[in-house]
Subunit: 107 residues, 2 copies
Amino acid sequence: MDTTLHAIADPRRRRILELVAHEELSAGDIASHFEVSRPAISQHLGVLKNAHLLIERREGTRRFYRARPDGLDELRGYLEHFWDHHLDQLKRAAELRERSVADGADG
Amino acid sequence: MDTTLHAIADPRRRRILELVAHEELSAGDIASHFEVSRPAISQHLGVLKNAHLLIERREGTRRFYRARPDGLDELRGYLEHFWDHHLDQLKRAAELRERSVADGADG
DNA sequence: CCGGACGGTAAGCATCCGCTTACGGTGGGC
DNA sequence: GCCCACCGTAAGCGGATGCTTACCGTCCGG
């Protein structure tokens, strides 16, 4: 959880994840999308891989990366249940009621 | 979004959010739950407030804090739709098929 | 074997981050 | 007015972080 959050807290790493969310890309391909050096991207890939957010596939000397949706499941669960669902539902219900109360008749 | 993630990336700040998720607590009350100094907590509160994750209410010289569920909505939405829902469903379907395929014939 | 492409790793450096102590500002009781 | 409780802010310090350059290992073609 901490590892996951730390990994996606960096904008560059989020961008990397978005890049490989829909397609598999090689390390060099990924790096070519940024203005920082390839080693920098390689280090980011290491962090993401360590957080189980990436899948690595080797083909010859190339390494292809792909996002791993499962990696975010834990975090999603955490955020979903951060406040009990009850609270969340109460909040939304309250919002709806506030509108009705504030508006009265008009839409 | 970046501000939100940066804010909750810190374990201590997450703990603070959890503390005030269900009840309103004063700054000193919150600080008493940790072993670091009050100024440290005050700084964390500042970060959380800046990320719109906290609501502050002043009562005399005391300041009460409460978590603000809305603050995480954006992040939750981001994570939900990180990969299209389609992809997510395809993934799960693929996983199931892979198991079958591993046994019998492949595509 | 030799050269080149690919890419991870090591070392060094500037910056950021979280913590501490010291301080200032505000509000309430007497 | 005076003192105290409460709490944010300033300044400084040590460790973490992200970047760079330099380097090494691996795989392929000749």
